[in-house]
Symmetry: C2
Subunit: 433 residues, 2 copies
C-alpha cells in the first residue's frame, strides 16, 4: 500500500490543521503519514463542556484511524516526536524509529503557558486535553463534595469559590458553564450546602472581556455573565496562586481570595517543536514560542517544511498575527495540501491569505456573542448560530447526533449526565490538595 518512490508527506499532529492537511491530500499522488501522540482528533472548542459534565470525552473526539479509514494514501502512526533532523529530512520518534519525509507539515499545536510560573500548573490546571477536562471535572465536583462535609463557614466558602483566570473566549465559556452547573444542575443535590451560593470570579488582565472581539460585544458578554452571578474583574492581574488562595492586584490594591479551585484559561505556549525548528532553520520565534513562517507557510531556506496552526506565527494582510483558532489552522492545512499538489503539477499558488468569517463565544444556555461577516450580535440567535456552526464541524456523524441529543436534554432538563468524578484521585484525597 505504501510505495517508496512516491513523494512522502509527513504530518506531525492530528489537530485541526494536521487532519485537514491529510484529508485535503486525499486525491494527491503522495504518501501521507500522520503522526500523533493520541489516537484521536479532538474537537477542542467543546472541551469546557466535558470539563463541566455536559458532554463525554468520546462525544468530542474521533479516532484518527476511523477518520482516515478510507483514504488509502494515508497512514496513521501513534507516536511522539523526539526530534526533527532538518538536514537529513527525517523525523525521529521517542522510541528511535526514523520517519523520512520529502515534505514535512508540522502542526503540533500549543499547550498552557503560566508566564514563568510553572509551579502554578498543579494548582491551576489548564484545559487542552481530554485528561485535563476529566481532571477539572473531578476537581470542580469534588470541591462541592468537600464543602458538603465541612462545618467551618470560612472553609466552606473557600471550597465554594471558583476562580477562572483569563477572560478570553475559553474563560468566558468556562465561567458560564461553572455558573450553570452550580446554579441549575446541582440544585437539590446537596443537603448541607447550596451550590447556587458558589462564588465564581472571572479575572482578566486587560480592560475588557474577550479582547479579540469588538468592544460592544465585550460589554454584552460582561453583562450576560454578570446576570449569571459571576464576578468579573477586568484590569486585574493575578500575582500568586497557593493551595489556599489567589492574590489579585488591581489599581495598586492587593486582594487575597481564599479558594481551592483555580482554572487556567490564560496564556498558551507553542509546542517545543517550534523552538527546535527555529534553531535548525534560523527562523524567528515570538514570545509565545511560535515560529514565524513565510508567505507560503514554510520556514526560511526550507521550502519542504511547513508549520501551521497554533505553532505558527503568521500575519494577516493587515500585518496582525493570526489568532490560534481552529479556522486559521484548517485553512492553513487546506492551503498547504493545495500547494503540495500544485508543486507536483508545476503550478504556482499565491501566498496564504486567511479568510476571516468572524468569531463567536458562548456564555451559557441560549446566550452567545457573534462577530460574523462584520455583523455583531448577541443573545439567543447568536447562540443558535454558535450551536449550528459547532455541530456541523464535529467530525463524525454519530457524534453530531449524540451531541445534539445531549445538548437538547441538557438544555431542557438542565441536567449534566457526565458528572463523574473519575481518575485515581478520590474525594477523600481531594482535601489534602
Amino acid at each position: 500500500m505504501l510505495n517508496s518512490s512516491v513523494h512522502r508527506v509527513v504530518i506531525i499532529g492530528g489537530g485541526f490543521g494536521g487532519l485537514q492537511a491529510a484529508i485535503s491530500l486525499r486525491r494527491a499522488t503522495v504518501q501521507v503519514t500522520l503522526i500523533d501522540r493520541r489516537n484521536y482528533h479532538l474537537f477542542q472548542p467543546l472541551l469546557y463542556q466535558v470539563a463541566t459534565g455536559a458532554l463525554s470525552p468520546a462525544n468530542i473526539a474521533g479516532p484518527l484511524r476511523a477518520l482516515l479509514r478510507k483514504q488509502a494514501n494515508a497512514r496513521v502512526l501513534l507516536g511522539e516526536v523526539a526530534d526533527i533532523d532538518v538536514p537529513h529530512r527525517h523525523v525521529i520518534l521517542h522510541d528511535g524509529e526514523i520517519i523520512p519525509y520529502d515534505t514535512l507539515i508540522v502542526a503540533a499545536g500549543a499547550t498552557h503557558s503560566y508566564f514563568g510560573h510553572p509551579e502554578w500548573e498543579s494548582l491551576a490546571p489548564g484545559l487542552k486535553t481530554l485528561e485535563d477536562a476529566t481532571a477539572i471535572r473531578a476537581k470542580i465536583l469534588s470541591a462541592f463534595e468537600t464543602a458538603e462535609r465541612l462545618t467551618e463557614p470560612d472553609q466552606i466558602a473557600a471550597w465554594m469559590t471558583f476562580v477562572i483566570v483569563g477572560g478570553g473566549p475559553t474563560g468566558l465559556e468556562m465561567a458560564g458553564a461553572v455558573a450553570e452547573l452550580s446554579r441549575e444542575t446541582l440544585r437539590h443535590n446537596f443537603r448541607a450546602i447550596d451550590p447556587a451560593h458558589a462564588r465564581i470570579l472571572l479575572v482578566e488582565a486587560t480592560n475588557r472581556l474577550i479582547p479579540p472581539f469588538p468592544p460592544d460585544l465585550s460589554a454584552k458578554a460582561q453583562s450576560a455573565i454578570e446576570r449569571l452571578g459571576i464576578q468579573v474583574r477586568t484590569n486585574t492581574v493575578l500575582t500568586n496562586i497557593t493551595p489556599e488562595e489567589v492574590v489579585l492586584q488591581s489599581d495598586g490594591k492587593t486582594e487575597h481570595i481564599p479558594t481551592r479551585t483555580v482554572l487556567w484559561c490564560a496564556g498558551v505556549q507553542a509546542s517545543p517543536l517550534a523552538k527546535m525548528l527555529a534553531q535548525a532553520t534560523g527562523a524567528h520565534l515570538d514570545r509565545a514560542g511560535r515560529v514565524q513562517v513565510g508567505p507560503v507557510l514554510t520556514l526560511p531556506g526550507h521550502s519542504e517544511i511547513f508549520v501551521i496552526g497554533d505553532m505558527a506565527l503568521c500575519f494577516s494582510e493587515q500585518g496582525q498575527p493570526l489568532p490560534g483558532v481552529a479556522p486559521v489552522a484548517m485553512q492553513q492545512g487546506q492551503y498547504v495540501a493545495q500547494l503540495v499538489k500544485a508543486r507536483h503539477e508545476g503550478k504556482v499558488v499565491p501566498p496564504f491569505s486567511y479568510k476571516d468569517y468572524g468569531t463567536m463565544a458562548t456564555i451559557g444556555r441560549m446566550k452567545a456573542v457573534c462577530n460574523l461577516f462584520g455583523y455583531h450580535f448577541a443573545g439567543a440567535f447568536a447562540w443558535f448560530v454558535w450551536l449550528f456552526i459547532h455541530l456541523i464541524q464535529i467530525v463524525e456523524f454519530q457524534n453530531r447526533v449524540l451531541v445534539l441529543i445531549q445538548w437538547a436534554s441538557h438544555y431542557v432538563t438542565r441536567n449534566r449526565s457526565a458528572r463523574l468524578i473519575t481518575g485515581t484521585r478520590n474525594a477523600t484525597e481531594a482535601e489534602d490538595i
Copy 2:
C-alpha cells in the same frame, strides 16, 4: 432536613443493592445516609462495552446525588469507610468522620480475586470500575497500535493475541466484544496489520462456558463464539502470567502462549468489610470472602446490621448460594427496606426469598443466550430480550436514549465511537509493559 431523633439508616455502597435500599426507603420515616467512594451508581453489566469502546463511561453511570435529588430523607456522602464500630453502632470514614447508625446496610460489593496471585493483577486487569474499563480500552487499542509499528512476525503475533481468562458471562461478553472490535470496527483502520487476524482465546477451568447456565445454552454460546473466530479452551487452567506470555495447563499438557494482553474475568472477592464484620460478629466467612447472613439478611446477634449483594453469602430455598448478580442485590435491597419499615410499624415479614427470573448473557451483535422463566433460548430474539431488559434498567432516562442511539448506530455501522486511548500511559510507553 436531617432530624437527630429520627431512626438513622446508614447504607454503605451505592451499587445495585445499596441504591435500591435507599430508593425503597423513600417513604419511610427514617433518615438515610448513603456512603460511597464514588459519586455515581455504575451499571456494571455494561462495563465491557466501555472497555471495548462501544459506550462512554457516562452512558452507564448516573450521579448518586442526581438519582436521590428529590428524596428529602436521603443524603449522599462521598467517602471511604475505614472501619465499622459494631458495639458503638457507628461507621468511621478514612478522614476520621464518625457516622452513627441505628440500622446499617452494608452493600460494598466485590473486587477481583487472583486466587493467591496478586502479582497477576497488573498483568491481567479485571473489570470492576470505570477506570478499569478505560484502562482496558487503552490496553486493547494500544496493542493494535504497537503491532502496526512492529516488523518481527512473532512480536506482531504476540501483540495481536488476546487472552480472556474466565468463561463466565463477563468473559463471554468480553471475548465477543473484542472479536467484533478486531473483525469489524477496526477493518481498514491499519495499513501494516490486519486486525481481523487477531487471535482471541477464552480460557475456562470447568468443562463448559457460562457454568451457571443450563448445558444446552453453554453449547450454543460456545458454537456462537467459535463462529466469531474465538478459540475456546475449556477444562484448561491458567498456571502463570508473565509480561510475555500465559501458561495454560490442560489434560496434563502445558502450553505457552505469547501474548501482551490478558484480561481477567475470573474470580471475585468480597469487599474487605465482609471480613471486618465477620470478625466483629462471629459470622461465617466463605472462600470468596463473603459473610454469611441469616434468613432476614442480618448478622448473628445483630439484627441492626444487614449485609446484601455481592458481599453476602445467602442461600436459596434449595440451599444453593445465590450468585453475585444485580437482581439478587436489588431484591435484597428492596427486602431490607421493607423490613426496616415493617419493624417501625411493629409488623413481621417472612424471610428473604430470591425470585429467580433467569439469567442472560450476550455474545455479540444480535446474539445472546437467555434462560428466563425456565425457557432456554438463544440467537437474535434472545439478544433483543437482553437489549430490552438492560435498557429499561439503565437508571436515567437520558442515558437510556443515548445508549439506545449509540447501540443502534454501532450495530448499523459497526463503528465504536468511544475508541479513545486516554489516561497517563501513552502508546510509546505501552511497549515497555
